[in-house]
């Protein structure tokens, strides 16, 4: 057993999915697609992360920490890309379910408060996804003040490292205490992803070919809304239900 806080070497493995990848995610992805994404692509990404972080100081860190720590180092670009893509893929696959339930009222209400209506959010998300040229990911993210927004990241971009922090955000007449605040020292604006969709060609080409609209429209049928609900903060003022 390890007595001290000296970090032992740790080894990444793909996380378990709440459904069987061999059965696929009807009607969104066929069994072959999910098998390719999880059993071949995810394993390749995780192996690359293990290989590239072995022996460095990042070998015992979680995937999210690997992304944020190696994003600033231009020598570690392959590690950042592989780790980011592995995290994005796992987040995407964990947000789906093979047993789709109808949309929950509390999710609909929370999203409607930010986007006007749930349909408007869906439309915005779809348009953003279709506007992505090349490979990338479309995200629904929540910022630190509770604001929801739809965002695109390109190739293997991560929502954690997408937006650099605004260094001149400190207002005039700031006190001594505010100078040492950690927000100014954080390199990236903190965003919490709530829902993610892979717009990589490897995800939709085997099943849909060139038809991305059907791919995105069928995505809404397999989203696991209870997982999304857990991730959403209830921002309604005066609400009795605690987030």
């Amino acid at each position: 057993q390890r007595v001290l806080a000296v970090a032992a070497a740790r080894y990444h493995q793909p996380a378990m999915l709440p459904y069987k990848p061999e059965n696929g995610l009807a009607p969104f992805l066929s069994p072959q697609s999910v098998d390719f994404l999880y059993n071949m692509r995810q394993i390749e990404l995780i192996n690359n992360v293990n290989r590239l972080s072995e022996g460095t100081e990042l070998e015992s860190k979680t995937l999210m920490n690997v992304i944020t720590d190696s994003a600033l180092d231009p020598n570690k670009v392959p590690l950042t890309n592989n780790a980011s893509q592995a995290w994005n893929m796992d987040f995407f696959l964990q947000s789906l379910t093979d047993d789709p339930r109808p949309l929950r009222d509390d999710v609909r209400r929370t999203i409607a408060e930010h986007f006007g209506s749930f349909e408007r959010f869906q439309e915005t998300f779809t348009q953003c996804a279709l506007a992505l040229f090349g490979n990338g990911w479309t995200w629904l993210v929540q910022s630190d003040n509770g604001q929801l927004s739809v965002m695109n990241t390109f190739n293997a971009g991560s929502p954690f490292t997408a937006i650099p922090s605004v260094k001149n955000a400190v207002p005039k007449g700031a006190s001594y205490a505010s100078i040492n605040r950690t927000t100014s020292r954080r390199p990236f604006t903190r965003l919490t992803p709530i829902l993610g969709l892979s717009m990589w060609q490897e995800a939709f080409v085997p099943d849909y070919g060139i038809d991305r609209e059907t791919y995105v429209s069928r995505f809404w049928d397999v989203v696991n809304w209870s997982v999304v609900n857990e991730r959403l903060a209830n921002t309604r003022s005066g609400s009795r239900t605690d987030a």
Binding site: R2, V3, L4, V6, A8, A9, R10, Y11, H12, Q13, P14, A15, M16, I46, V49, E59, S60, T62, L63, M64, N65, A83, A86, W87, D90, F91, Q94, R109, A112, E113, G116, S117, E119, R120, Q122, E123, Q127, L130, Q142, D144, N145, G146, T192, P193, E213, W220, E230, R231, A233, N234, T235, R236, S237, G238, D242, A243
Partner: protein
Amino acid sequence: MFGRSFRVLAHSARPLRQLSTEAAGAATPAASAPPPPPPAQLTTPMPEVSVREFGKPPRRTKKYAAQDAQRIRQHLARLRPRLQQTGSVQTDLVRPSEMLDHESSQLTLEAMMAAGMHLGHCTSLWNPMNLRYILGEREGIHVINLEETLAAVRRAAHFVRSVAYEGGLILFVGSRKEHRQMAVDAALHAEQYFITGKWLPGTLTNPKPLLGKHVTYTEDVWDVEEARELAEQQQERLLVQRAEDAVQQQGKRRFKGASGQQRFMKMVEEEKERASREADSLHTYKPDLIIALNPLECQTMLAECRLAHVPTVGIVDTNCDPRAVSYPVPCNDDSVRAVSMVAGVLARAAKDGLELRRERLKKAVDEHYRNASENAAANALDKQYGAAGEERE
């Protein structure tokens, strides 16, 4: 979802058409015909914002702003650790080259060279007292003679084994960050003790102010459990002996007017009280051996060991003074694998010594009980037949 918004548009459009045709007053066949379908497009038009979907959203007043902010902050703070666990599942990785369980016989010159034990420091930084351990110079650094290293490791391992065999207290000291886990692993493997932080100056030469006030939760553990009873009996006998001596020396003066028996009982009580006070008080122990993984940075500790007569084993590099420790092991102190090999050999030696000690003690205790039972049997027989024997004689 898009069908619903279509219905809304169509629903609101119908009354307007009827009004216009009524106003015109002409019932044209075109008016009664259904509206033409919208042209096929790749993208659908933006649906209407319907405020009536869930009633008016609540107004965000200042009163709720702080509550909202706090609730969001708390939620995100709870969510972030779960997002940290997304992505992959992590398990501990065990690297055999870093495991500490080497026998000194497994240490070969090739393995030592692969670990980089022969690489000394820059020639200009050497300590001339190391001359006998240095093979030569190459690429500006001194090369350590691995045969000397091997002999020194064997010598140190033999010494560590004998200290453990005699029941000594061994302290592994590794203050560098890379050596900390190694010192802990070695100590736990050998069931001995470790220091990984700063060595408090004066721990050996001035223990009372440094260690006297610490509250510790320690438990005295016997090397061999079977010896506990015998040891306790021996302690009781010692206690009685001390009481007798005390009575002889001071009894008459202290307890005037009391009989001899009463004086003795009073002294025994006093001794018992003193023993219990000692047992409850804090015990500080001086180590019987200190193994320093980086003696260059622990010169204070080594000076104290010299004053307090504590032998030391240390990994000395070409820039260290080998006289600082009792048993120097010339080796590269910058290579993690080299230090782990040496620490592993010493830990294994300490463990072997402890196991030999346990065997010896177990054998002694078993023999004692066997003799005691034989003697008891013999005494019983004597008692039975002794009187008859004496009578016979």
